[in-house]
Symmetry: C2
Subunit: 102 residues, 2 copies
């Protein structure tokens, strides 16, 4: 389970902007669909807090994640999303230990 | 994406007990391996905080999740794990909106 790079990302949208941020995340995530470095990239809304979004993602390595995020076609999505957020995303780095579903 | 039930769980182990809790989680998760209600159940250690564990899980429904957790063979794992934790697990309920990898 060591050859992975995993993150939990917590994003807080400005009031009323969560749906728009989710749309941007899903659109930008389309660029990962045929990228085999991306094992999963899943977007969730918080069931309790109407402004919070969670993204769970798992990559083959830290370097592959950095490369995927640096692709020029992502820049407009990231720039737009940042204007709709309160502050910067919180990024929790985690190490996969095992489980079911991969 | 509506027929799902998803959680992010944050567990804080007592100092020095994280490895033991992770082992219990992975062992107890074996009971989900042939349960089709469990889409994934993934156990991670926090890369920064040496006591924190994260569990990401996705189920076909809230009811299926409750049924899986109520199985009697899980009780000893849960009872043991609770003695190794600081406080109770924090459970964040989330709704899957889309992404890659399912």
């Amino acid at each position: 389970m060591n050859n992975h790079y995993a993150l939990i990302n917590k994003l807080k949208a400005k009031p009323g902007k969560r749906g728009e941020v989710i749309k941007l995340l899903l659109e930008s995530g389309m660029s990962f669909q045929d990228n085999t470095s991306c094992i999963f990239f899943l977007v969730f809304e918080d069931a309790k807090d109407p402004n919070v979004i969670w993204v769970e993602d798992l990559w083959t390595s830290r370097e592959d994640h950095a490369t995927a995020l640096a692709r020029p076609e992502l820049k407009p999505f990231i720039a737009k999303a940042i204007t709709l957020l309160e502050g910067m995303p919180e990024q929790i780095e985690i190490n996969l230990m095992g489980g079911k579903g991969l």
